[in-house]
């Protein structure tokens, strides 16, 4: 094509790619605050189809844009800067309320509007990178490497940035970086006239100068925090932000918060004054004011979670998910000896330990309390201590839990393996106590019971029935798992505890039907019946016939909150008019809805250019097989993210911090894949590209299989290592796999660049669509079959891609 072509604007491409990956993470953060996490997931998945749309757009317009490459590139990059900020600000003004979606025909339209608006920033990014890939097709592998390396930097930087600034400020900064990427390109490309660079630099300051009013987050009025703020005298007195969440501290000066969920009907007192602590404007936990009047704290003894303190006198206590400290206070109230309190979010700990230390009466600095910043599961598996009581608090809010919002989130707290680890940390006669919200028909509580039975069985205890106790109020349930059988005397204590508080016993060794369903009456004693059957030989049939999924979660399928079963869908939908909607487990349905929408959009986006573009169908390319090309790139697009997503989960179990593990694994994958892509340049010729792909795929499959077998044992062997060693080991483990994974895509593109360059934008779009589908399909596969199956599917897809590549692009 052109002589003396200038080198590609590598720095600009990397910066653009870094900003767009950061933007994706930031959008997730922003929408988790203003909306709910599961809708954030759907919105962003679909917005990412902007990549696919760009492929379609470029397929049709590349021949006009490429002759003016520098201008087209600059324009799209600058438009990213503009739309990254602008489109979010528009999208958050669309008043969308997910709870009305099945009733109100306007809601789906508003949702559609949000997708469409948010597609734009990704569309412009993809245009920029797609144009660069097409324009510099002799150097495709290096352009792609710059893209991946940029993304790698972006994935780490955004985590850092979100520690430093509020999400709204991060949005401004990313807008600025978008313009900066354009300015950088004008310098790298020596774009004339030079004053364009100056204009772009000036423009890059505009996002920073937006009025604060525009940037205020439009949080849904139905989120817990906004509901509370309706009450006069309430105000937010403090706000902290980190990638773990936006923490808001609320004071209620006129009407006390009186947060005491699950309080007995027989209770008389009310809690002392409290501060509400919201995470992402929801999920309230409280910091309770210190009081010397013991009476004022008696409510802590009037809830189901107080049960273990009445069985024996636990001395050494571990509290997982300590939050604002309600359970620590409860343990102190009952005269605990030593307490280890574990909380993931350091900002919440700081509130209790520093900022509101006096208010909380030094709760977290008391001599008998050690507070640990850690992920609960990681803390337990790294600990050598033995506890008389391990107490797992009610971590999620009732609202979110009852709507099934967590069903998509991996959760390693309530798996069979987790319960086994907790049990292994108990002293002789020690107990594990887990409280959950009561849902009707029963879901969490019975699933937890089933999980405990399975954990005991796998730990080699057959007589699990005499180690379990389940009690319930109308609001909460508490399950006790003891590491020895309950004694007669202990059971008597349990009965007395329940009777005094009008709680019902749902299970204890030797329980009879007459002793259940007395105070909080259900149509049938569901909890009692469920517990009985789950301990019997008929457990499997019961799980099969139950209309919600109660199958215990495992580390390979860590979806405790996935209760949905297809069989019940029709029945529930038919009950819509009578208020049957809460029976729907939303999270899973949203996942399916996302898949369907993404699939339809992808098919349209992929087929459209083939129907409309004469260039893709002209003489030169008539021997090129569309299905072979798309087969190759779809397989790669699916497989790459399958592996990435599955290994993020495997490494979370090793690194124990969902956020750091995700950022670290993602960055490592992108970094080494980028290096692999750069390295693959040497194979990018018709003589050796087959060998390149063959070598890479062989590497991926063998390393992948090895890891499937060896990572589990390796991780448990190395669990004692300090975290920085674990990080180094993780990076080293990811390196070879990711390096190989970086090669097949650019080699395919390079071959296409020689045989049929008109297809490059189209393939770029195919890859974009496949990536969106991949993330959704990976989660669906993991929910139903586990992450092992996700990895195996990915390895098979790589194998298929290699076979297609060996056969060439021609029609057979």
């Amino acid at each position: 094509m052109m002589e003396n072509k200038k080198p590609p604007p590598f720095y600009s491409i990397a910066l653009l790619s870094a900003s767009s990956l950061a933007y994706e993470v930031l959008l997730m953060r922003l929408f988790s605050i203003i909306q709910w996490h599961h809708f954030a997931y759907m919105i962003i998945s679909l917005a990412l189809l902007g990549y696919g749309a760009s492929g379609t757009f470029l397929s049709l317009t590349a021949h006009r844009l490429l002759p003016r490459f520098p201008l087209a590139y600059l324009g799209n990059v600058a438009m990213f800067g503009l739309s990254a900020v602008g489109c979010y600000l528009i999208a958050q003004q669309v008043s969308f309320n997910p709870e009305e979606i099945l009733w109100d025909p306007n809601q789906p339209l508003r949702l559609l509007l949000i997708y469409l608006v948010l597609t734009l920033p990704f569309f412009f990014v993809a245009n920029g990178i797609g144009l660069a890939l097409t324009h510099y097709r002799g150097e495709i592998t290096r352009v792609y490497a710059a893209d991946l390396l940029g993304a790698s930097i972006g994935s780490l930087s955004i985590v850092l940035l979100l520690f430093l600034v509020y999400p709204a400020t991060a949005l401004q900064i990313l807008g600025t970086l978008g313009f900066a990427a354009a300015a950088l390109a004008s310098w790298e490309l020596k774009y004339q006239p030079r004053r364009i660079a100056l204009v772009l630099i000036l423009l890059s300051f505009t996002p920073l100068m937006l009025p604060a009013g525009w940037l205020a987050l439009a949080i849904s009025p139905y989120k817990g925090m906004n509901q509370s703020l309706q009450i006069s005298g309430t105000r937010i007195i403090d706000e902290y932000s980190s990638p773990l969440g936006l923490i808001s501290v609320m004071e209620s000066s006129q009407i006390p918060l009186r947060h005491a969920p699950g309080l007995s009907l027989n209770a008389s007192g009310e809690p002392p004054s409290q501060l509400g602590v919201f995470t992402d404007a929801d999920a309230m936990t409280v910091i309770t004011a210190h009081t010397d009047e013991r009476d004022k704290l008696s409510y802590l003894d009037q809830v189901t979670s107080a049960l273990p303190y009445h069985i024996n006198k636990p001395e050494k206590i571990l509290i997982l998910g300590a939050g604002g400290g309600a359970e620590v206070l409860q343990a102190n109230y009952h005269g605990a000896g030593h307490i280890d309190a574990v909380e993931l979010n350091p900002q919440i700990i700081d509130l209790v330990r520093e900022k509101y230390k006096d208010f909380a009466g030094g709760l977290y600095t008391a001599a008998n309390v050690d507070v640990h910043i850690a992920e609960a599961r990681g803390f337990v598996s790294g600990s050598a201590e033995r506890y008389d009581l391990i107490q797992i608090a009610l971590l999620d809010s009732f609202g979110a839990s009852s709507a099934g919002l967590y069903s998509l989130s991996e959760n390693y707290l309530y798996t069979v393996q987790a319960l086994q680890e907790y049990l292994a940390r108990l002293s002789p006669g020690g107990m594990l106590a887990i409280s959950r919200w009561i849902k009707l028909p029963p879901r969490d509580t019975l699933k937890l019971f089933a999980t405990a039975v399975e954990a005991l069985r796998q730990s080699g205890i057959d007589e699990s029935g005499n180690r379990l106790v389940l009690i319930r109020g109308w609001q909460t349930s508490t399950l006790l798992v003891k590491n020895s059988p309950f004694s007669e005397k202990e059971i008597l204590g349990i009965k007395k505890f329940c009777e005094a508080r009008s709680f019902d016993t749902a299970y204890y060794p030797g329980i009879t039907a007459a002793e259940t369903n007395r105070y909080n009456v259900l149509a049938e004693p569901y909890f009692f019946q469920g517990a009985q059957v789950l301990l019997s030989d008929e457990a499997a049939t019961y799980l099969q016939n139950y209309k919600f999924n109660l199958q215990p979660a495992s580390d390979d399928q860590p979806y405790f909150f996935h209760f949905f079963k297809w069989g019940a869908l029709n029945e529930i939908l038919a009950l819509r008019g009578q208020g049957g909607m809460p029976l729907l487990e939303w999270g899973y349905l949203i996942l399916i809805a996302t898949l369907i929408q993404a699939l339809i959009a992808s098919v349209v986006l992929i087929l459209l250019p083939l129907l409309l573009s004469r260039r893709l169908l002209n003489k030169k390319t008539k021997n090129i097989s569309h299905s072979r090309i798309s087969g190759y790139f779809i397989a790669l697009g699916l497989a790459f993210l399958f592996i990435e997503i599955a290994f993020i989960q495997k490494f979370i179990l090793f690194l124990h911090h969902p956020l750091y593990a995700t950022a670290m694994v993602l960055a490592s994958f992108l970094l080494f894949a980028g290096l692999g892509s750069a390295w693959s340049q040497r194979y990018a010729n018709p003589q050796s590209d087959k060998n390149g792909v063959k070598g890479a795929v062989t590497g991926i499959i063998s390393v992948g299989l090895l890891y499937l077998l060896a990572l589990g044992p390796l991780f448990s062997m190395l669990n004692w290592l300090p975290i920085f060693m674990k990080v180094i080991i993780s990076v080293l483990l990811i390196a070879p796999l990711a390096f190989c994974m970086g090669m097949p895509f650019p080699l395919g593109m390079a071959r296409l660049g020689k045989a049929a360059p008109a297809f490059i934008p189209w393939v770029w779009g195919v890859n974009g669509c496949a990536s969106v589908l991949s993330a959704v399909i990976a989660t669906i596969l993991a929910i139903h079959f586990g992450f092992t199956v996700v990895v195996i599917s990915a390895l098979m897809l790589y194998g298929m891609a290699m076979l297609v590549f060996n056969g060439g692009w021609g029609k057979e």
Binding site: P221, I255, G399, S502, N520, A523, G567, Q578
Partner: protein
């Protein structure tokens, strides 16, 4: 001149008259439409009630309750932009992050209270005032407390205009109930609370019933019925608003 003036004036009067007639026409038309919509809503609730009979141990809601439901003009209780949906069997937003409950749920909750003519009922969480109006049709006195000031004032004004003289609205914290007026035969708690306030249980008469919808603003997950027996013992019944048995097969 005069004649022309006269004509003009006559025309003017005519115009005014015709506009008036037209407006009246639309007005009566609208009223008729609302009445029709209300009747359709009643039919829907009755059909739903038949399916739910399993839980409430009877085939239909109390006819008195249904009569009240068919009398109270629900469209007066929703914001103007929601009026067209006023009689749809679904909850509607009323501003301030609050909602007016789904008609079926209102009927079910009212029915669970077993209202009688001579009774005194307390409501915590007035909202639009719709539930209070329904209760006012059925019992002697309704006392209702709203914590969100503008909502409370709106409801007070609205109930006054609709001539519900046996409803007293108070703005404030409902946690301690309304001691001066207690004890009550029935209590409805629609305001979100992390637990059932002990003072409310105390203000329930022996034999009295308290109903609490549990869930989010738009979705009631279950209804909790608190019953105090003649001896003062308190129990709850947890009621799913729909007939849904968790097991398939014969269990």
């Amino acid at each position: 001149m005069n004649i022309i003036m006269c004509l003009c004036r006559n025309r003017f009067v005519l115009l005014i008259l015709s506009v008036f007639v037209l407006l009246m026409g639309t007005f009566t038309q609208a009223q008729e439409n609302y009445t029709k919509a209300r009747q359709a809503m009643i039919k829907e609730i009755e059909a739903d009630a038949r399916i739910t009979s399993f839980y409430i141990n009877k085939k239909e809601f109390d006819p008195k309750v249904m009569a009240a439901m068919s009398k109270v003009p629900r469209h007066e209780f929703v914001p103007w932009q929601e009026r067209l949906s006023a009689y749809a069997n679904r909850p509607l937003p009323i501003g301030h992050g609050q909602t007016i409950s789904q008609p079926y749920i209102v009927a079910l909750m009212t029915d669970l209270l077993k209202p009688e003519r001579q009774q005194k009922v307390l409501e915590v969480g007035t909202g639009s005032g719709y539930q209070a109006a329904i209760l006012a049709e059925l019992v002697a006195e309704v006392f209702t407390i709203e914590i969100i000031e503008p909502l409370g004032n709106q409801a007070k004004e609205r109930l006054k205009q609709l001539n519900y003289r046996n409803v007293t609205v108070r703005i404030g914290d409902g946690y301690y109930g309304w001691e001066e007026q207690g004890p009550f035969d029935g209590i409805v708690v629609t305001a979100a609370s992390s637990h059932i306030p002990p003072p409310l249980i105390q203000q329930l008469k022996p034999g009295g019933r308290m109903v609490i919808p549990v869930g989010s603003r738009f979705m009631v997950q279950q209804l909790v019925l608190v019953e105090k027996d003649a001896k003062g013992n308190v129990t709850t019944r947890q009621i799913l608003p729909v007939r849904f048995v968790p097991l398939t097969g014969k269990h």
